[in-house]
């Protein structure tokens, strides 16, 4: 029973870890253990697996070197890490656009299918993929960052704003614009889509 109490009594917030790492640098590895997989998945979606590994490593090096500047009143380090990731991804924006363009030509045959079942999404989902990919390829960097932080990284508006260092209002307007463009791309061939 006692053994159960010990870890439970010392919950570790991201900010606690970062604070600790200022005195004990190796403590930063715990942050890696928490989030490297999540960041890897996100980057693999945007840039593919080849670039993702190195980029995630780079992200943590950058984060580590900036740990003294982290705002310890923010318990959750995800927005901070996704902010760094977004900057590093933007260096590859040509590759990213090319990746999406490639998807407009071929279906998802060279990319990993998640173990999730695909029964429910049927034919229409497959059919819209090239259109979605084309829309992503044409978005501006800023709009795409916001859209994907929200759709793919599951950040809230506030978190996305923190990550990119922009006001929440800007997040909303970029998201609206990006979604409008995506819907336009879909609209031409998918009159059955739901309306909000």
């Amino acid at each position: 029973m006692v053994s159960l109490m010990i870890p439970l009594a010392t919950p570790r917030l991201d900010s606690d870890l970062i604070a600790e790492s200022r005195a004990r640098p190796e403590a930063f590895a715990a942050l890696f253990d928490r989030y490297a997989a999540m960041l890897y998945r996100y980057v693999s979606r945007r840039l593919g697996p080849e670039v993702a590994e190195d980029l995630v490593g780079e992200t943590f090096l950058v984060a580590f070197r900036r740990r003294d500047r982290y705002d310890l009143t923010r318990p959750d380090a995800r927005p901070w890490l996704f902010g760094i990731v977004s900057k590093l991804v933007s260096r590859h924006h040509r590759d990213e656009a090319a990746r999406y363009r490639a998807l407009t030509r071929s279906p998802l045959d060279d990319v990993a299918e998640s173990p999730a079942e695909r029964v429910e999404d049927g034919v229409s989902a497959t059919a819209v993929r090239p259109l979605l990919a084309a829309a992503l390829a044409h978005l501006s960097k800023g709009d795409r960052d916001v859209l994907l932080l929200i759709a793919w990284a599951d950040l809230t508006y506030d978190e996305a704003a923190q990550a990119l260092g922009i006001p929440v209002g800007t997040v909303r307007s970029r998201l609206n614009r990006a979604r409008r463009k995506v819907r336009e791309a879909l609209g031409h061939t998918n009159p059955l889509r739901d309306e909000e």
Binding site: M1, S3, L4, I6, P7, L8, T10, P11, R12, L13, P25, E26, A27, F28, A29, A30, F32, D33, R34, A36, A37, Y40, R41, S44, R45, G48, P49, A52, E53, G57, F60, L61, F64, R65, L108, V111, A112, E113, S114, P115, A116, E117, V119, E120, A125, L132, L147, L148, I150, A151, W152, D154, T156, Y157, R179, V182, L186, R193, D194, E196
Partner: protein, 352 residues
């Protein structure tokens, strides 16, 4: 489907799992941290494979492991909790506790507009006896046709009561709606509700060092990227989730066959969990679990800690059952609960 849902689906298709090579990046970080010198890993930072583990199935394990950390690490922040139900509900009797557990595709991020992509893949009603020595886990197949009561959707619309598959409740109004649906269709008062994302389960399995399953025959399903030999195998998180969700390559292709596999997995997880005795290992589990859960606000720290301790102390024995069912008369691709057997089961459960 709206545009965000389609976009998420595209994203899932593009995603790759972290490779073992990511460990190199971790070493790179540690080298930097050590100023170029290699240092021994501390137990806290996870000397063992912390995890490119991704992983699986749901239930009691998660009730104990997952909820505690969530409440601890997330505190009572609104994003990951829902308010307890109000209004006309079945009466609470005695000290026994009933918890609704959901396994879902995605984290319910109700703060995000248009987040309609979540589905509850697995629903389990867990009843813990007053002395916590016994537990009964009743699986509710996701394609059960039931009456979904009036619910409020994430964007504030009111969705009228209607007949639908039970897993639609979660898609319509998240944990709260699933909770209401289960209470109203079973007549059992549900004290707490918890939703766990599949990727959280993946991490749990990995943190537990994998689980062992026994297969009657080999599985090779390119669609699920799953290839396993007949006989005993140890599954890592990702494989375990794929196995849990696999529908067509094994058994009769029904949700029922899948539930059986999930139950077997949960048993295997429980076995592993009961053997953990090092605080560091438990802490690692707590940590990985914390990011993937939504729970009701009534599950506060004291409640959960108490429950976790009780369950461990009592060495709770779990019985798994599936609600009695039959193919739906209206749609043979769906099922309906068999009456009066189902009603009798729930009455027994409520009285136990």
């Amino acid at each position: 489907m709206d545009d965000l849902t389609m976009l998420r689906d595209l994203g899932r298709g593009l995603e790759h799992e972290p490779p073992a090579g990511l460990a190199r990046q971790r070493r790179r970080l540690l080298d930097e941290a050590a100023g170029g010198r290699r240092r021994r890993l501390t137990p806290w930072s996870g000397g063992r494979r912390a995890g490119w583990i991704t992983l699986v199935a749901v239930a009691v394990v998660t009730a104990v492991l997952v909820v505690v950390p969530t409440v601890l690490l997330r505190g009572t922040t609104g994003a990951h909790t829902v308010a307890p139900l109000t209004g006309d509900r079945p009466a609470k009797k005695g000290e026994a506790l009933t918890v609704l557990l959901l396994g879902s595709d995605r984290r319910p991020t109700s703060a995000n507009a248009g987040d309609l992509g979540e589905r509850s893949d697995l629903m389990v009603l867990l009843r813990l006896s007053a002395d916590r020595k016994r537990a009964t886990a009743v699986s509710l197949p996701r394609d059960s046709m039931v009456r979904i009561p009036q619910c409020r959707s994430a964007d504030g619309r009111t969705v009228a009561a209607h007949q639908d598959m039970i897993n639609q409740a979660y898609a319509i109004g998240g944990l709260t709606c699933a909770w209401k649906t289960v209470e109203s269709t079973t007549g059992v008062r549900v004290d707490h509700a918890v939703a766990i994302r599949y990727d959280g389960l993946e991490k749990l399995v990995d943190a537990l060092g994998g689980v062992e399953v026994a297969l009657p025959r080999a599985v090779d399903d390119p669609k699920a990227k799953l290839k396993l030999p007949a006989g005993r195998s140890v599954l890592d998180g990702r494989t375990a989730v794929a196995y849990a969700r696999l529908r067509f390559a094994l058994g009769d292709g029904s949700d029922i066959a899948r539930i059986k596999r999930n139950q077997a997995l949960v048993q295997a997880l429980l076995k592993k969990f009961s053997r953990i005795d090092r605080p560091a290992d438990l802490a690692a589990l707590v940590r990985v679990a914390a990011t993937s859960v939504t729970a009701d606000a009534g599950l506060d720290l004291d409640t959960m800690l108490g429950l976790a301790l009780d369950v461990r102390r009592a060495g709770t024995r779990v019985t798994f059952v599936t609600v009695p069912w039959q193919p739906s008369r209206k749609d043979p691709n769906r099922i309906e609960w068999k009456q009066p057997d189902a009603a009798r089961l729930f009455a027994q459960l409520a009285a136990s």
